[in-house]
């Protein structure tokens, strides 16, 4: 699988300065990429462009040579797992919101048992978390771990991780690496954490365009 950003320009509506200018990147299966750049340099924006939530002003994003629009985009969204910086699964208990993702037709066959899911929670240091706890009442770090567990169980070919270790201690980071690093995937991560970036096999620097 080859994922390519070619000469991407992008500015948010109403903003004169583009956040990305002439950005290119090619990622192959097995690549574990750390996107590096200052806050606001466009790391998260790249994920949003890739997932089709924003449209590049110029340039194309392709998967195996095919542009990610319409049907290609829908199929791609089904091949990704995205860990946002602040995961919001909505109202409801942890059990309701966690398993809701496995009610989707595309994910039904990946639904883990409660025991298996809890095993991974425990592995990630979530042993005191109860299934009936309201998702909203969990801390940022706990929500991040839940998101990582979701990425693990969804087991998609492309992983998009936005600051995956920002609220984790070193022991937990090691476990996240153990759980998610996979040679059969493309992993794109936006991270400020040197611990994480040094463990990726490619580093791509994003510099905000100079006006």
């Amino acid at each position: 699988m080859t994922l390519s950003f070619s000469n991407i320009d992008f500015a948010y509506p109403g903003q004169a300065t583009p956040i990305l200018r002439n950005f290119s990147l090619t990622a192959e299966t097995g690549d574990i990429i750390a996107l590096q750049g200052a806050s606001g340099s466009g790391k998260t924006t790249l994920f949003r462009l890739l997932l089709g939530f924003e449209k590049p002003t110029n340039g194309t994003i392709t998967l195996n040579g095919k542009e990610l629009v319409n049907e290609e985009l829908f199929q791609f969204r089904n091949r990704t797992a995205w860990l946002p910086q602040d995961l919001d699964l909505g109202e409801g208990s942890l059990e309701e919101v966690f398993f809701y993702l496995f009610d989707f037709k595309n994910n039904k066959h990946k639904k883990p048992s409660k025991e298996k899911a809890y095993e991974i929670f425990e592995f990630l240091g979530l042993k005191d978390t109860q299934w009936n706890t309201g998702f909203r009442s969990l801390s940022t770090g706990q929500r991040q771990r839940i998101g990582i567990a979701l990425c693990y169980f969804l087991d998609k070919e492309v992983l998009l991780l936005d600051e995956p270790t920002s609220a984790l201690d070193e022991a937990s980071k090691e476990k996240v690496k153990e759980l998610l690093f996979d040679k059969n995937k493309i992993i794109l991560s936006a991270s400020h954490d040197p611990w994480w970036t040094t463990r990726c096999n490619k580093i791509v620097k994003i510099n905000s365009p100079v006006v």
Partner: protein
């Protein structure tokens, strides 16, 4: 049962004298609401006089086409009110979606109750059609304002959650399901609460009106039960259809939410 005693216009004017009490209280507490009260009372009187004369005409001529025309006008007014009282812009597609949803919500329920339950020889009979439609429509309007507003407000506020679902392999329908559920619950809660307390806390207007017109309380409660069920079903149906139809306008081909349909478009 006795028939109702008509009130003369003079007697009605006499009835307005009681407004002295609320106006005194509002004035004493310097609420600055006296102007609004006078305007509201005058508007209510003018609007009801207009409706009274209009309905007299509708009932007298009882023409199915005129009756249908009146219902379409009521639905159209409800349609604009729903959009104007919500966070949504007056978009043609949205107006059309909510118009069709409200009309179907009212029409299906009317058809069911008037044709199958009351078994009217002519379901377009103004005496039944107009008041029952009006009761259902008023509640549909309230339900639509709450439900449709809640749906789009929450979607706008929690757009990242919807996007997360899409990015996790959800179809548009699956990604919107939690927002849809919350909107339906919120829109129907007032009707549920009203059903649960009816008769204990208040006597509904329709039932009171019927009894004042000489109906036996037992006939009045049967109509009231029917109308409560009709309101409940009609509200839920029109909110469901309103959201469902508006989805075609509110999303682009990539299933992204079009914030351009909101009054204050967020960039």
């Amino acid at each position: 049962m006795n028939t109702i005693i008509d009130i003369s216009w003079l007697q009605l004017a006499l009835g307005l004298l009681i407004l002295v009490i609320p106006i005194y209280i509002l004035r004493r507490f310097k609420t600055k609401l006296i102007g609004s009260t006078v305007i509201a009372v005058v508007r209510m009187i003018v609007q009801l006089i207009f409706v009274g004369y209009y309905l007299e005409y509708l009932f007298k001529y009882d023409n199915p086409w005129v009756n249908l025309g009146w219902i379409l006008i009521m639905v159209l007014v409800a349609d604009f009110s729903t959009i104007d009282r919500s966070e949504l812009k007056r978009d043609k597609g949205l107006l059309a979606s909510i118009f069709v949803a409200t009309f179907l919500g009212v029409f299906i329920i009317d058809l069911f109750f008037l044709q199958f339950v009351i078994q009217l020889p002519n379901i377009m009979e103004a005496q039944y059609l107009i008041p029952i439609t009006g009761m259902i429509l008023g509640n549909c309007l309230r339900g639509n304002v709450i439900g449709i507003n809640d749906f789009y407000y929450n979607l706008d506020r929690h757009q990242e959650r919807y996007r997360f679902f899409l990015a996790s392999g959800a179809s548009k329908k699956e990604g919107l399901f939690p927002f849809f559920r919350t909107a339906l619950i919120k829109s129907i809660n007032p009707t549920l609460a009203a059903m649960a307390t009816i008769g204990l806390v208040s006597l509904p207007g329709m039932m009171t009106g019927q009894m004042l017109s000489g109906s036996s309380p037992l006939i009045a409660i049967k109509y009231q039960i029917m109308i409560m069920i009709a309101i409940f079903a009609g509200t839920l149906l029109s909110v469901y259809l309103g959201i469902k139809f508006s989805l075609k306008v509110g999303f682009d081909r990539q299933n992204n939410f079009r914030t351009a349909i909101l009054k204050k478009e967020k960039e």
